[in-house]
């Protein structure tokens, strides 16, 4: 047993006073969770501390909070680790961000998280006819969407999302991960319509800025940002053009890197808006967009973030390096199917032998995500609960 100090952000909506900090000491082993610490304080000292919780095992999704400023599940964070990361040794716990606070550590998930879930038509729209037996669906696609099925709707990603902070209308990481669960489901009839809807919504899937926060915050290895990338790639397959021009921008990006080995900034914009070729800049849309972004370009030049020569003529790569880049493209493009990374297929991030595909381990903190196991490797007497 050791003593830990907790500093909780308290707020009583009925008191008329502002939120305040309150400190509690608890006596527990270091590998016990912050939730157990809070529950000890609640049970023994002050029963009015508000926090949602039930399972204590990172499965019900109730106990999302900020611990030392970072979103996490209270039941999935060790006291000793939290104390090490605390600035003065006192573990600071606050309600999650991006959602209104109801009381103490309890936030209004309905107003934000669940509203956004509703936004993505979160139910299966069946392919007709519905078969008499099960739908025949490839093992791989079921495994693929099981990663987003692993979401426990805790809202940690929503709390940590940078885009959401700037644009509260952004559909957001959890809802987009949910969307992929249907887009990737071979039983769903409206893949195209779903993607078009989320592509054309200015707050849709192109509103994500790839800040990685949601991947880091997610306790179940759902990696919402990766699901968003999948949505975009499938939208690309359907040639869906979005309002933000995100898809064209992305393909211009790829073509440029392929042709020049590095990004050619001066070509990027015209190609994104005018069409993905050298002639793109002569398209009227491109001209308008170029004029609009002139102030940004000038600013960049003045602050020496860009030099005029590179801006106009692009980076130059040695010939053999360019060849290397093109070989990467050839290899990837020659694959019969896109190889999506998925924790459920290749998630052996701790395997000592190191023989597994190392690129596929996913983020380290994703290791609590349930593992599919491989067919034929089921324990003889399988998990009985």
């Amino acid at each position: 047993m050791s003593e830990f100090k907790l500093r909780l952000r308290r707020y009583d909506p009925e008191s008329g006073s502002a939120p305040y900090w309150a400190e509690y000491s608890v006596d527990l082993e270091g590998h016990r969770s912050v939730l157990e610490g809070i529950l000890q304080a609640k049970g023994e000292t002050d029963g009015s501390i508000g926090i949602r919780c039930s399972c204590r095992a990172a499965i019900c999704g109730s106990c999302g909070v900020l611990i030392n400023g970072k979103t996490a599940l209270a039941c999935h964070t060790h006291l000793d680790k939290a104390a090490r990361h605390a600035k003065d040794g006192v573990i600071e716990v606050e309600p999650m961000s991006n959602m209104p606070v109801i009381k103490d550590l309890i936030v209004d998930m309905d107003a934000v998280h669940w509203k956004k879930q509703q936004r993505v038509t979160p139910w299966l729209i069946n392919k007709e006819p519905i078969p008499e037996r099960e739908y025949i669906a490839p093992h791989e696609s079921m495994v693929d969407i099981t990663q987003s099925m692993a979401c426990i709707q805790c809202g940690a990603c929503v709390s940590s999302c940078l885009s959401m902070e700037i644009d509260p209308l952004f559909v957001g990481p959890a809802a987009l991960a949910k969307a992929y669960r249907f887009v990737g489901d071979p039983r769903d009839a409206q893949q195209y319509e779903r993607l078009k809807d989320l592509a054309e919504d200015p707050h849709g899937m192109y509103d994500c800025t790839h800040c990685f926060n949601c991947i880091e915050a997610c306790p179940k290895g759902v990696a919402p940002m990766n699901q968003i990338m999948r949505l975009r790639r499938v939208a690309g397959d359907h040639e869906i053009v979005d309002r933000n021009n995100g898809h064209r921008h992305e393909s211009a990006f790829v073509t440029l890197v392929k042709d020049y080995g590095l990004l050619h900034e001066a070509e990027l914009l015209p190609r994104s808006y005018g069409g993905d070729s050298w002639f793109g800049k002569f398209h009227p849309n491109a001209g308008k967009e170029l004029l609009d972004s002139l102030p940004v370009v000038v600013k960049g030049l003045m602050r020496r973030k860009m030099n005029p020569k590179i801006a106009l003529f692009g980076h130059k790569l040695p010939k053999d390096a360019l060849g290397e880049v093109q070989r990467i493209f050839d290899t990837v493009e020659s694959r019969p199917a896109r190889d999506e990374l998925n924790l459920y297929i290749k998630g052996y991030d701790e395997d000592d032998s190191g023989a597994q595909d190392s690129g596929a381990g996913g983020p380290e903190h994703a290791n609590n995500a349930p593992d599919q196991g491989q067919p034929g490797q089921e324990p003889e007497e399988s998990p009985v609960r």
Partner: protein, 566 residues
Amino acid sequence: MPAHDVLIIGAGLAGQRAALAAADAGATVAIMSKVHPVRSHSVAAAGGINAALNPEDTWESHAFDTVKGSDYLGDQDAIEIMAREAPEEILHLEHIGVTFHRNEHGQLGTRAFGGASQARTYYVADITGQAILHVLYEQLMKYSNQVDRLEEWFTTSLIQDEDGTCVGCIARDIRSGAMEVFTAKNVILASGGCGQAFKPTTNGLIVTGDGISQAYRIGAPLMDMEMVQYHPTCLVENGFLITEGARGEGAHLLNGDGERFMEKYAPNKLELASRDVVSRAEQTEIDEGRGAGPDGVGIYLDVTVVPKKRTLEALREIVNIGKDFAGVDITREPILIRPGQHYIMGGVRTDADGATPVPGLYAAGEVACVSVHGGNRLGANSLLDTLIFGKRAGTHAAERARAMAMPTPKAAEAKRREDVEEIDAIIARPKTGRRISSIKEELGESMNRHCAVFREEDGLRQGLEIVKHLQEEAKTAYIDDRGTVFNQDVLGAIELGYMLDCAEATVVSAIERKESRGAQFRTDFPERNDDEWLKHINVTTNGGDDPAISYSPVTITKWQPEERKY
């Protein structure tokens, strides 16, 4: 005042399935839950769900395994219905979007499970309960126009009209503290088990027996309450479940002397003997002073004998549980476990349509006792039970609603005021009594001491004394929170009362059953006694100090009781 054809209390698998079925049958429906529906404890079920769906399998085989597993206390008519309807239900779940595991041909694939003669367990990785619960909730969102969702509403009482028919409930909006009357032609209780009355338990903090107690208080009989399932491998520290898969992979159980004690109890099957046998063996070692760990209260589960690579592949989940929740790397050192409460086979007595003896009141899921599990539930049969009988209750209640007018219960407002006053009184209690948390702690530990794996008359009587004493103390236990918004403290006090009711019914039933069957092992009556005890024990309140006990027969269709050997 909100009024519905069907009001469902509880939004786990049983409740959500009932809501969808009642809506499909054309009823107006409301579903109420004290937590957001996806937080319900059904989310924790990992292993899977049984159905005889493969062409080589038969429903009779599934039914027989269940009957045998129940130690012949299960009602065979209900078990037949469950086994027959299971395949259709799995296909229904598949059609609405559950991402069941597929085989190499893209068809549904199965895994083998304990106590089953065929591999008939369907699953989604190790998140089966979560996947089904979340998909049902997707459907509820789709049904937003047909089903009213009352999320974070806490039911405090059921209401009855003059002739005793159940016509709704009183509930508290947890967010605002408002207390309201909900009128309904039918109420379906789906509020889960009562695991929190035990410590340790694998159940979540919200599993406090609310519905069992609420039904009991309006006169519904509780059946098979003595049948409490203990799982052999729960973490000593917090009761978390370590799956049987660990032992399936070859992990050993060691006592404090490092001895592989299962050699004494089950020389052939060793660690893989059936759940009740292993739990009893562990408890014997602990009771006789050969326990492991501090205070000798545990047993070592040694996974280090399993090749490390294999552990990381096949037991990944428990590697994480060990690391995250016990601070132990199970690939390097043994982990301390002990038997822990996992499931209750008993509950509010219902027929195969989910109807209880109280008119207008249905029950489904862990709160109910149909009885399909009898003395012992098989793994992966409980999710099935929640869905089949949830659906049947929903459909049946909707039908019953069609033929009747909306009740206008006269006593409702008085009951509401009574509940408001009770809550105000709890809030106003002086800080002189005990804390709620300390009474709850003592209850859990006492139940685990006197009413767990081994039971005998004296211990059970002591347990009953303690429960009664705690019931008295609970009347003056004080709380800190004086507010109305999210006052979890006052709800905790109410839940304590529910748990104490469940505990009392459990101990009383265990004292009554003077034999050993299924989960009930009486050291003073170590044999099964079909002549006298092949019957259900029912417990009802009778207004006095002690509950009234009665019996009901076990329904036997095809399978006469035999000795249970594995």
